[in-house]
Symmetry: C2
Subunit: 359 residues, 2 copies
């Protein structure tokens, strides 16, 4: 895999060298990442980039600095791969930041200049940032009957005490040794993960339990996709009954607009939503544990109503409309209103038994 | 330990029952947590609570609701201990929230009402929230030659691949099986942890590496203290060269005002600061990688100058004054400016060799 990425980086450099040899204006092709070039691919059920690209030229006052920055980032990533080390996107910024000789001009003034260049490079040579050995903060935890290999260590996800395994930002390098599970349960809240972990839910139901701690990191999304793709495990997303929770589900399932260029690598189109729904609030007697929705919640719910993948499903239309009409929301912790073990012993088993999922 | 905490909770209930039997106004004593009652104990080098307490009465219009809430929280914690389960502070809020019969009065309207009651209970019966089985989000990671036991699993901190062990909110229940290390290096940034972990710094230097991810969680502070107390390991804190980084060090070392009542359980007075300092910026040629300090940074640095434990040390006075005069700051990632391995192969070994720490 590393070799393939190196080849792509070398091809990029070679292309620019060829332009110079041919005395042409050196340039690189970068697919456009604006909303105008993001489409929902009905067949794959994912957001993807369209075909529009833009050329970035060296001899162009408006492009020259970005051209230089793109070359610097590409060259930095090449040396990460050569040295077999990783760096955070902030490390990269500091490493590349300098003042050009005899000038007051910096290569990069702020990290907000180097971050988008990484995405440009991702789309230009069609690789993941993680494959370029660039990392971000780790986020997300996992537990289950799974043994993996990571940097030469064998790690048993069932033997990590109260901790679970902290999901790194680069999971494409881990190898699965054994995977003994029937499904993956993705929980939006770490508190929910902790409760289910303590109640040994993953042992009792033979599943893999993942806590995302809010919007899942790219590493967590990649891990979910790998478990789904490589091990054919159904994925159920358990999130708050509010627009943000539904959006988290949508991102896991179909990708996001800002990361549309990598949907096929990190989205899981077959993921299903297990709860919490507004209907659940009434079905499971949680009315006392709801929160009044804010204007922004209602506004977001109205936007979600218009998403193509929610439009086609009457149940989603119903739930989103309920959210708007009732003007309430509920967090998964609201289930504790019925007792601390209600989530693991009543609610989730009931939902799983009825196969009561939203698609 | 659990038994001791249960006894304290029972004593609290018994006290109230006795008041009723004696036909007195039921009340509980709660040490005052305001700034007026926080003192810096020079001998222990920690912030602690003074002796002022206030009585909370049942028959008092201003106290009655809080009195009820305190009893509800105490009773909830008692059942957590009896059932041997844990709950997040948000779970607790939802579990206890209800509307009183024949009224529109809620036991708790918002979590912001139940959270301070937990601290009241902590100070009233002198236990840690963690000992009451209340949890918060896990934060912080650790790696090193250490084997622990947690919920019946043996966990080897040296064999967790790229991940490290995710530090739970309750670490007083873990047991140390073997600890083979010469010191503890606490890193403010997770990105710093990742770089040092990848470079096998903890293996090469035989240390325990802890990443706090910003201000350390209570669990992480408790872990640092336990490693220092129980295993006599020196603790070195590695944080940004800015007022916030110095404050993080100060909290690890001496505790914080808002948690003064638990300093003796979670602070590590012997902790030392290894860097980054403003002097380091000049000594290690990092000037190109600094950031202009904001007004708030300067304001905070001026406040830190007045802290008793920074006042007594001329080197701290010098560094804080440099921060103010030069108007710059630097993050630990700035070391990447000198190369990605500069931190693990040059800077830290050099500091350790010279024993160049601030106290």
């Amino acid at each position: 895999m590393t070799t393939k990425v190196k080849i792509e980086l070398e091809k990029l450099g070679q292309k620019v060298l060829n332009d110079i040899d041919k005395k042409e204006n050196p340039n690189i092709d970068i697919p456009i990442r604006a909303l105008s070039n993001v489409i929902f691919d009905k067949k794959s059920g994912q957001l993807t980039l369209g075909n529009k690209t833009a050329k970035r030229y060296f001899f162009n006052v408006a492009h020259a600095k970005k051209f230089m920055q793109t070359m610097m980032v590409a060259s930095f990533c090449k040396s990460l791969l050569d040295e077999e080390i990783h760096a955070s996107i902030r490390d990269m910024y500091y490493n590349l930041k300098r003042t050009l000789a005899d000038s007051n001009e910096n290569t990069f003034d702020e990290q907000s200049e180097s971050d988008p260049i990484i995405v440009d490079l991702e789309v230009a040579i069609d690789v993941l940032r993680e494959q370029l050995h660039l990392t971000t903060d780790r986020k997300g935890i996992v537990a289950g009957n799974v043994v993996i290999e990571d940097r030469g260590d064998k790690i048993d996800w069932s033997k990590l005490g109260s901790g679970g395994w902290s999901i790194p930002s680069t999971v494409d390098e881990i190898g699965f040794k054994t995977v003994d599970a029937e499904f993956v349960l993705v929980v939006e809240k770490n508190a929910g993960f902790e409760r289910l972990h303590e109640d040994k839910f993953w042992q009792k139901r033979n599943c893999i339990l993942i806590g995302t701690g809010g919007q899942p990191s790219r590493g967590t999304r990649l891990l979910i996709q790998r478990l789904n793709n490589e091990h054919k495990l159904p994925v159920y997303v358990f999130a708050d009954a509010d627009a943000y929770g539904v959006y988290i589900y949508s991102v896991i399932k179909s990708g996001s607009i800002s990361l549309a260029h990598v949907s096929d690598r990190i989205a899981t189109p077959s993921a299903k939503f297990i709860g919490l729904t507004i209907s659940d609030i009434y079905d499971y007697d949680l009315k006392k544990a709801t929160i009044k929705a804010k204007d922004v919640d209602i506004k977001r719910a109205k936007e979600l109503l218009e998403y193509e993948w929610f439009k086609k499903n009457p149940r989603w239309q119903r739930e989103l409309n309920l959210m708007i009409e009732k003007g309430i929301k509920a967090e998964i912790e609201a289930l504790s209103h019925r007792g601390l073990k209600f989530m693991s012993e009543e609610y989730l088993p009931d939902k799983l038994k009825k196969q009561d999922f939203l698609d």
